[in-house]
C-alpha cells in the first residue's frame, strides 16, 4: 500500500508536465485503500486510515471522508476564484517560477496544482465514502 500511495502522489504532482494528474492519483489512492479492505476487512482499513475506533465502536470514518471531499471541492473552487480576484477569468491557471531553492534549483509552481489537489481530495473522499458506506452494509 505505501508503494501505491507514493506512486499515486507522484502521479498527482508530476501531472502537470508528465502523465498523471489529480484524478488518476486519487483513483489509485482509493484502489490502495480498497486493496487493504479486500485483504483485511473494513475495520482494519478504518483503523489504518483514521485510528482505533471510539468507545461506541464507530470510527466516524464517513465524517472524515466527507470533510475530505467537501474540502477538495472547496480547494478546487477556491483555486478558481483566486484568479478572479487577480483580474483574470474564473479558473485561469498560471505558472510561477521560483529560483535559487536549495536542492531543486529552479522550481516551477503551477497554480493548476491547487486545482489538481482539489480534484484529488474530492475523488478520494468521494470514493472512500462510497466504499465504506457500501462496504459496511
Amino acid at each position: 500500500m505505501p508503494i501505491i500511495v507514493v506512486t499515486a502522489l507522484a502521479l498527482l504532482f508530476q501531472g502537470h508536465n508528465r502523465p498523471g494528474g489529480g484524478f488518476i492519483g486519487a483513483v489509485l489512492t482509493a484502489t490502495a485503500a480498497v486493496l487493504v479492505y479486500v485483504t483485511f476487512g473494513l475495520d482494519y482499513l478504518q483503523g489504518l486510515l483514521i485510528g482505533p475506533p471510539t468507545a461506541d465502536g464507530s470510527h466516524g470514518a464517513t465524517e472524515w471522508y466527507r470533510w475530505l471531499f467537501a474540502g477538495g471541492l472547496a480547494v478546487a473552487a477556491g483555486s478558481g476564484i483566486v484568479p478572479m480576484a487577480a483580474g483574470s477569468g474564473f479558473l485561469t491557471q498560471g505558472v510561477a517560477f521560483v529560483h535559487g531553492l536549495p536542492l531543486y534549483g529552479e522550481l516551477e509552481v503551477a497554480s493548476a496544482l491547487a486545482f489538481d489537489l482539489g480534484v484529488y481530495g474530492t475523488v478520494v473522499g468521494g470514493l472512500l465514502t462510497i466504499v465504506s458506506e457500501v462496504g459496511s452494509e
Binding site: P19, Y37, T92, A112, T122, L127, I130
Partner: protein, 799 residues
Amino acid sequence: MIETVLAVVFLPFLGAALAPAAYRVFGEQTAYYAAGVAAVCLGLVWRLYAAGVGLQGGTRYAVEWVPSLGVSLALYVDGLALLIAFLASGVGVLVLVYSGGYMHGEPGQAKYYATMLAFMGSMLGVALAGDLFALFTFWELTSLSSFLLIGHYTSADDSQYAARKSMLITVAGGLFMLAGFLVLAWAGGTTLIAGEGSLVAQAGSTGEQLRTAGLFVPALLLVGVGAATKSAQVPFHVWLPNAMEAPTPVSAFLHSATMVKAGVYLLGRFRPFFLPAEAETLVPEWSVVVLSLGLLTMTVAAVLAVAATDIKELLAYSTASHLGLITAGFGAANGLGAETGAFHVLNHASFKAALFLVAGIVAHEAGTRKIEHLRGLRHDLPVTAVIAGLASLSMAGLPPFNGFYSKELLFEATYEVGHAAGGAAWVFPVVAVLGSVFTFLYSVKFLSLFLGDRPETLGHVHRPPAAMLAPAAVLAVAVAAISADPNGAIRLLVGDVYASTVAGEAHSFSVKFPTKLKPAVVMSAITIGVGALLWPQYDRLHRGVRRLLAGPARANWWYDNGVNGLTTAGRRFSEWAQTGLVRTYAAWTVATTAVLALGAYLVAAVSIPALTPAAGLTPAFVIVLAVAVVGAAAVTGAPSHIAGVLTLSILGFMVAIFYILADAPDLALTQLVVETLVLVLFLLVLNRLPAFYGEPSRLRAIRDGAVATLVGATVFVTVVVSTSASPAEPLSEVLVSRANLPPGEHGAFFTDYGGGSNVVNVILVDLRATDTMGEIAVVAMAALAVLTLIRMRERGETQ
C-alpha cells in the same frame, strides 16, 4: 423610473417575505401591514402613471439577466399594464383591509397575508412584464399563489379539490401558452412583447413567417388556451366556481383584479400581434377563435349562473360570463371590440369586487350563502344593500350604470361584425343578446336577496364591521363615479388601454348615452324586455337548467372522469414500467438512448464514412485487439461471476495497452487505474450475488441480445462518425505546439495555456477546467447520495 417599475413588481414579494415577522409583531393587525404594502405599490403605480411613461406606445425598461443568452428582465409600461396594475394594487388595498375584518380569528393568517401579497406581486408582474420569459414566470406564479389561497383551509377536502383543480387547469394551460411563446419567439427572433423591435412592433413580418410555416393558427390557439384556462372560458370554466372555497376576500381579489384578469390581459396584449393593422378579412382567425369563445362563455356561464344555488357560486359563474364579454370584445376585429374589452376590464373589476365583498358580508353576518334562505336583507344591512344595488345594476348592464356602456359597445361591435360579414356572422350579435338576457336575470336575482320580506328562517343578522363595509363602499363609489362620468374614466385610463390593444392606432375613444335609435339600443331594449318578461319564470328556469345539468352535459363530469382516468392509467403504467428490477431499467435506458442517438443520425442524414485500414496499424495493435476480442467473447461464456469479471478485465487492460501503443499515456493510466478499481469493487460485491447465472428463458435471451446489438451498433456508428471528422487545423497541433514552455521568453509568471507540458492535464485543469469542476462536483454528489440513501433509508416514510 426603472427603480419605480422594479419596486412595483418586487415590493409585494419583499412584503410577503416579511409577513410572518409582521404577524409576530402585529398579530391580527397584519392585515393593515399588508394593506400598507399594497398602498405603497398603488402609490408607485400612480407615480408611473403621473410621469406619463405609459403614453404613446409605452416605455420599456430592461434589466440584464443572462446577457450571454440575450435574456433580460424586460418590463413594459403602457395603458393596459397601468390599468391592470392599478386594479391589482388598488383592489389589493381594499381587499386586504377587508381581510382585517373578515379573517378575524381565522387560522393561518401569517401564511394568508404572505400569499396574498405574493399573489398581488405576481399579478403586477404579469401586468408589467415586457418579455415572454418574465410574463410566463409571473403567470405561473399567479397559478401557484392562487393554489395556496384557494386551498387555504388545508384540511378541508373541498378546498383541496378546488385548489388542485385550479392548479391543474391553469398550469396545464400555462404550458400550452409556453409552447405558443416558443413558436412566437422562434418566428419573431425576439422575446420582447411590445415596444420597439418587439413581437407586436413587427407583427406583420412575424405573422407572415408564421403563416408560411403554417404555424399562425397553432400559435394563436396555443396562446388562446393559456388565456382561456386562466380566464375560465368554456370549457375551462369548471375551476372557477370551486375556487370560491377560498376565503371571500381571496375570491373578490381573484375574480376582479388578479388571476382571471390575467387571461383577458393576455388577449389584450397579443391582440395587436394576431390582429395587425392591415387585417384583410372581416372575420379573421383571431375573431373566429376569440370572439366565438368569448360569446359562448358569456352565454353558457350566464345560464349556469341562473342555475346557481349559492351566492358565491352565482358570482363565480357571472365572473366567467363577464370575462367572456371582455374576451368577445377583444375578439372582435374592429375598434369597437377593443373599446369593449378595455372598458369592461375596469367596469367588471369595480362591480365584481364590490359584489364579492357584499357576498362576504352576507355570508359572514347572516351565516348562510344559500340563495333560497336569503331575502329582505335590506332591513338588516341597509348600507350593504345600497352597495349591492349599485353593483348589481351595473352588472346587469342597465343604463345609466357603467356596465351598460361597455355592454353597449359589445353590442355595437358584434352588430358591426354581423353587418359587415353577413351570413353566419349574424350569430354573433344574436348570441350577445342571449347571453345578456341571462346576465340581466341573475343580476336581478342577486339584488333580490335584499328585497322583499325577511323570511322567518333567517336568524339575527349582525352589522358588518367598518373594516369590511368601507372597502365595499369605496368600490361602490367607484362604480357610481364611472357611471356618472364614463368619459372621464376613459380619458384618464381606458383610452390608453385602447391604444395598447389596437395595432397602429394611438387615439382614444369616448362613449355617450344613446339618444338616437341605433342597433345597439334596440339590442339593449330587447335584452331588458325579454329579461323582464322571463323574470317571473326565474325559478322554473333555475330548476330547468339544473335538470339539464346531469352527467356528460356538465363540463365537471368530463374533468372528474378525465382526472380519475388519468390517475388510474398512471398507476397501471407505473406498475408495468417500474418493476423494481435494475435490469428492466437498464435495458430501457440504454435502448432508448441508442434509439434516440441512431434516430438523430438518421434525421440529420449523417453519412457513415467508408472504413479503410488506418495507416500505421502495426502487428502489436492487431495482437492487442485480437486478445481484447477474445476476452469479450469469453465474457459471454463465463461460467461464474468471478470468471466473467476477470475476463471483462482482460478486455479493459487490452484497451489500456492499446492506448499506450497509440501514444496516449494519460488515457492508458486512467484506464488501468479505473479498471483495477472496478475489478476490486466487483470482487467486493460478488459474494452477495448468486454464484451462477440462472438459465435464461429464450425470450429474454433474444431481448437482451437485441438490446446489446442495438447498443453495440450505436457505439460503433458514433465512433466511426465522430472520428471521421478531420478539421483543417487540428486542435491537437495547436495544443502540442504550446505544450512546452518557450525557453527564456517568459517572465516569472506565465499564464498562457496553463503553462504545463502535459496536454491532457492542461485541458483538464485549464482549458476545460469548468468541466472538471462539474465532474468532481458530480463525484461529491454521488458520495452524498450514497450517504443519504444508505444512512437514512431507515428514517423514511415508514416511521
